[in-house]
């Protein structure tokens, strides 16, 4: 049962459960699932039928279900901090900046950077916003790393007066109280919009 060219539903809005074809005519791609040899859409989106490669996929029209996965960059806030690890409240995953809840992550001192680090106090403080990468989803918690120049603290706050810190070479200065602290910053510290 091949679709004639006139019946192609390329770019059409499809809803979950909408029939897209059978596995004999298409290779099912993202946004689709197969049941009893029939390809259905599993999300709301636009059906894309690649007639050259015989692939069918659905391009999502909403941000969709987003959960942290290994290799994905996440944005989070530092929660409880200890000398060798900190808890991270993951608030954004990839391009989705606002999750409806938070996921818990952990950043261990061994995953902070290539260099030797004496204490987590030189990396980040509670309340800081960091960008990190997920390296493991095991142990019922996401293990994060900041070992890259685009990863690390993107917004740091003074531990004495909670003012946004300014970066001056290797140190962080508080413009209000003059306190000097250390952070493992990302190269675009203070620039990303959240």
């Amino acid at each position: 049962m091949t679709l004639k060219p006139s019946e192609q539903r390329n770019g059409n809005l499809v809803l979950p459960g909408e029939r897209l074809g059978v596995i004999e005519e298409f290779i099912p791609d993202s946004g689709t699932y197969v049941k009893d040899g029939v390809i259905y859409s599993k999300i709301i989106g636009r059906a894309l039928m690649d007639m050259l490669n015989r692939r069918v996929s659905v391009y999502p029209l909403n941000e969709g279900a987003v959960v942290p996965k290994v290799g994905v960059t996440v944005i989070g806030q530092i929660g409880n901090a200890q000398s060798d690890n900190v808890l991270v409240r993951i608030m954004g995953v990839g391009t989705k900046k606002n999750l409806s809840g938070i996921f818990s992550g952990i950043l261990h001192i061994s995953d902070v950077s290539d260099r030797y680090i004496d204490s987590m106090n030189d990396v980040c403080k509670p309340g800081d916003i960091i960008r990190a990468k997920v390296i493991s989803g095991k142990n019922q918690i996401y293990h994060l790393t900041t070992s890259d120049k685009n990863l690390g603290v993107i917004y740091g706050f003074c531990s004495l007066c909670s003012t946004l810190l300014e970066q001056r070479q290797y140190e962080m200065h508080c413009p209000k109280c003059g306190n000097v602290e250390r952070r493992k910053t990302a190269f675009d510290y203070g620039k990303e919009e959240i």
Binding site: Y40, I44, N62, G101
Partner: protein, 244 residues
């Protein structure tokens, strides 16, 4: 309607609210009505007014409820204190707890639970005004809310009831028919997969009547499904135009 009317269906086969036996109540569906929820839907089914909101997948709290191999679907069906004529206590009643479970179990087969392990999806159903058949309307709205949140689904879930009133099998019972009638059969199904996810019966029906009731409810489901699709398309067609 405090006194019991003599007949729920007149000689011409017209019901108390002026419908025929196979006629549904007027239905209005809207998707994306709440901005704080990941997905939401609003349904007006006759005099029923129900809001549904979906969140997730997100980390399960309390954490011990999380399943290591799959996502957990949680549902809360709740009736507002002003949803019925006499004030309803806002505390979850026995009936609400049961309906929450029933709605959860009728939606679960439509989800890919194994896709997001250790997470949970929360669905909140708030009945603002009740007039019989709220569980069916709630399922219809909850399915829309989940689809709107972007959680992958095998199919939409749509529900409709049928029952027996004055020895006649009718579709989509409203409050008076539900209370005074002989039987009520709510059915939820996934229309594209042709699968039933909920089938209940309250009252007594003969096997023939039961079959007729189920078939009528399924017919009703098909009609509601068309409107469900329409509601989703109305929202997402607009989104497309804005993007361009």
């Amino acid at each position: 309607m405090n006194e019991k009317p003599e007949k729920l269906i007149d000689k011409k086969g017209i019901r108390l609210d002026g419908r025929k036996a196979d006629e549904l109540r007027p239905l209005k569906l809207q998707v994306g009505v709440l901005s704080n929820a990941d997905g939401s839907a609003y349904i007006e089914h006759g005099k029923n007014k129900i809001l549904a909101a979906a969140f997730g997948p997100r980390e399960m709290h309390p954490k011990h409820l999380a399943q290591p191999d799959r996502m957990v679907l949680r549902c809360r069906y709740h009736m507002a204190p002003f949803s019925v004529q006499e004030r309803k206590s806002p505390a979850p009643s026995r009936r609400e707890v049961e309906l929450s479970k029933v709605i959860k179990e009728s939606l679960e087969p439509a989800l890919f639970l194994e896709l997001y392990p250790r997470t949970g999806v929360d669905v909140f159903v708030e009945v603002l005004q009740a007039d019989g058949g709220t569980r069916c309307a709630a399922i219809t709205a909850a399915a829309l809310a989940i689809a709107d949140s972007g959680v992958p689904m095998k199919d939409l879930v749509v529900a409709c009831a049928a029952g027996k009133v004055d020895d006649t099998v009718v579709v989509d019972l409203f409050d008076a028919e539900d209370k005074l009638g002989a039987a009520d059969v709510p059915v939820a199904c996934m229309p594209n997969l042709n699968a039933v996810t909920l089938l209940q019966m309250d009252g007594i029906l003969s096997p023939d009547e039961f079959e007729k009731a189920v078939n009528m409810a399924m017919e009703g489901c098909k009609k509601i499904y068309a409107m469900q699709k329409e509601a989703l398309k109305t929202k997402y067609m607009v989104v497309k135009e804005v993007e361009e």
